[in-house]
Amino acid sequence: MSQMNMVQAINDALRLEMRRDSRVVVLGEDVGKVGGVFRVTQGLFDEFGDERVIDTPLSEGGIIGAAIGMALYGLVPVPEIQFADFIFPAYDQIVSELAKYRYRSGGEYPAKLVIRTPVGGGIRGGHYHSQSPEAQFIHVAGLKVVCPSNPADAKGLLLAAIRDPDPVMFFEPKRIYRAAKGDVPEGDYTVPLGVAKVVRPGKDVTIVTWGAMLYESLEAANQAAGQGVDVEVIDLRTLWPLDIDTVIASVKKTGRVVVVHEAPKSCGFGAEIVSLVNEKAFLHLEAPPVRVTGFDTPFPYTLENEYLPLAHRILPALLETARY
């Protein structure tokens, strides 16, 4: 065990897997000599050389297209897109090629790779450095989508993602890259994909969240406890495949659910979760499911703290739901 932040834990996972599996390569803008704009790939270039840690031109479509080609030839690429906001030039490669290769080749070409990309706001990044487009990838059949909330999970989930036969979108919440610190087990371990975690048990209201908003949810839950509302907080960890069983078990216990995410409300992943809750736990509901999310606007630079579903916006939703 050693204390690490998210950046260090992800770096640890990459280093470990590159040592263990020579097929693993890293590529992206400034991931080599510079070690990545957030320092996630720091030291990898020195240890593994420019054959396995590749600085690429500024071309997201090219990065992902090349990575897909490597994967088809048997490598295990872990490309980085510098900000999730920049991923859209590669969206066609991801949606039309990556997500479908295994299916359309009858399993012959699994296109096994992991796209790492920092996600989310709260870093004074403005509208091109703060978005949370996870739902747009969850909606694409053939992809798995992960979003860790802490260093230990980040390392274990990344190792599991690299070893997974399917392409995985690995969203790293950059707001907590350095703020989220914790003990990270030494050496090799995985956190299984598709398994959520009840971070805080409670009996009155269920919060479903992930990534950076986990901490805001915990803060709100703490404040709600002071007002007599006992909140259970679930960290999804893997968004797709969704661990709906854990969510439903909790909602059946509490009868009330609040989904918290940074992305805009309409057609955000919260909509899918609420819909599944209605389908699977309808007769247990004591109150309408609620979403506390970003707004249906571009991510605002000056109004960042109003846009994000921070604790001061989650708490009233918890109390209203509990007292409905």
């Binding site: 309808f282 007769l283 247990h284 509901l285 004591e286 109150a287 409905y324």
Partner: protein
């Protein structure tokens, strides 16, 4: 602009509460003065209440099926001025000034202190629960709301406990039925926890006892239909017992469970009556009245009642007294779409045939369009039910509680009759008279029937009875 609380008016003598049958407006609707807003049913009639003033409906204070005491607030209106007033903005006021202005009291001399404001109903335990509580047990039993509000979890509980949510008075916020409401109904014994079954009782033959054994009242067990087979479940429709049907249901049950009905049927030759009516009709028409047979029946009944006053009686169960009435308010049973009602010709003994005809014409028109007035309903001393063209050969009318007699009139038909030893074609009508045998002995009832028949066969005699 201000709000106006409209209270359920005193809509009829002795009426203490009304059941909301149907709202014709919803909060947010704009209404004109005298626009129908709600149908309210009392024990006497269903009346349509109109808006007292033009304005906007802010709140309706009772759900459909809810029972509202007279003089309690029914609707809250916003009256005077359409759009919400805006205080004159100070020159070049900044944008944030606008919301602040809303919260300030309007600048009038006395201040605009309101009884209610939009959104007040959102407070838990506010209006929705108050009327239900004030009505106490009585309203709890009669509560019915076609579309109850409840969360899915409450609905699941109600299903599990076999409680009909529609019959649960809500105490939750926004008029919602809570889980506690559902449970309390079960503990109150208001709902059977298990699906009820029909009890089959084998017939038992017993020898007639010399002395009557003491009557043991049957336990008030409610029998429900067994759940239908799945294949036909969708083919069944369940119509809640409410509104006028409920009143009729209760009235008929009470009558049949109290009075000892016996029905006397006799034939009546109406040839003379037909001729008389034909002769008088043009004169009546000149007076603007359509002369039917019914006014003659009313007058014949009144004349017969005067000779047999106990037929115009009622039984007071509380004091165990027979109340003989020396006034003659004759009920005319009338079919309407909503059900049977009985408008009344008041003081029929003091009215001419023409007056009675005029009354009946007006009552008929008002009944037809559902506008019968509360003062025209209830309190009759004797009832006539005209069975019309499909009245059958004869019938056994049920007494209009607490009256002790009712006259059923059947269709006039041409039939062979024997007159002076000859078979001739006669105009014949059957009368079906039901009596309460506890109070009216058989020969009295028969004598009364023949008294009526006498007047109808020789209607000129009615002139002798003219007041």
């Amino acid at each position: 602009m201000s709000t106006y609380e409209f209270k359920l008016p005193d809509i009829g003598e002795g009426v203490s509460e009304g059941e909301i049958v149907k709202w014709l407006v919803a909060p947010g609707d704009t209404v004109t003065e005298d626009q129908p807003i709600v149908e309210v049913m009392t024990d006497k009639a269903t009346v349509t209440i109109t808006a007292p003033k033009a304005g906007k409906v802010l709140e309706t204070r009772a759900p459909e099926g809810g029972v509202v005491p007279v003089h309690s607030v029914l609707v809250v209106f916003e009256i005077g001025g359409g759009a919400s007033p805006k205080a004159p903005a100070p020159a070049a006021a900044a944008a944030p000034a606008a919301p602040a202005a809303k919260n300030e009291p309007a600048a009038t001399a006395v201040g605009d202190i309101r009884e209610t404001l939009p959104g007040m109903s959102l407070m838990p335990t506010a209006v929705a629960s108050a009327p239900a509580q004030s009505n106490g047990q009585a309203s709890k039993q009669s509560y019915f709301n076609e579309k109850p509000l409840a969360t899915p979890a409450t609905r699941a509980l109600a299903r599990q406990l076999g409680v009909d949510l529609r019959a649960v008075p809500p105490t939750g916020s926004n008029g919602r039925v809570t889980k506690d409401d559902v449970r309390s109904l079960v503990t109150d014994g208001g709902a059977a926890p298990k699906p009820p079954v029909i009890e089959h009782v084998a017939p038992v033959e017993v020898a007639a006892p010399l002395a009557l054994p003491p009557v043991t009242p049957r336990p008030a067990q409610k029998l429900g239909l067994p759940p239908p087979p799945a294949a036909v479940a969708a083919l069944e429709e369940r119509i809640p017992l409410r509104g006028m049907r409920k009143r009729i249901f209760e009235g008929m049950t009470r009558s049949k469970h109290t009075a000892a009905h016996f029905t006397f049927v006799e034939e009546c030759d109406v040839s003379a009556l037909k001729a008389l009516r034909a002769r008088l009709r043009p004169a009546a028409e000149k007076a603007g009245v359509k002369l039917t047979f019914l006014p003659f029946f009313v007058k014949a009944v009144v004349a017969a009642l005067k000779r047999h006053p106990t037929l115009n009686a009622a039984f007071d169960e509380a004091t165990q007294e027979i109340v003989v009435r020396r006034y003659y308010d004759i009920g005319i049973a009338s079919a309407t779409e909503a059900g049977l009602i009985v408008p009344v010709v008041r003081g029929a003994d003091r009215k001419s045939i023409l007056d009675v005809a005029r009354d009946i014409q007006r009552l008929g028109e008002e009944t037809k369009v559902g506008k019968v007035r509360p003062e025209d309903l209830g309190g009759s001393t004797f009832t006539i039910t005209s069975l019309g063209q499909q009245g059958g050969l004869f019938a056994t009318p049920i007494l209009n509680f607490p009256e002790v007699a009712i006259l059923g009139i059947h269709q006039m038909k041409q039939k062979p009759v024997v007159r002076d030893g000859q078979i001739v074609i006669g105009d014949v009508m059957l009368l079906s008279l039901s009596f309460d045998h506890r109070i009216i002995d058989g020969h009295i009832g028969a004598a009364f029937a023949y008294e009526i028949i006498g007047y109808l066969q020789d209607p000129d005699r009615l002139f002798l009875e003219m007041a």
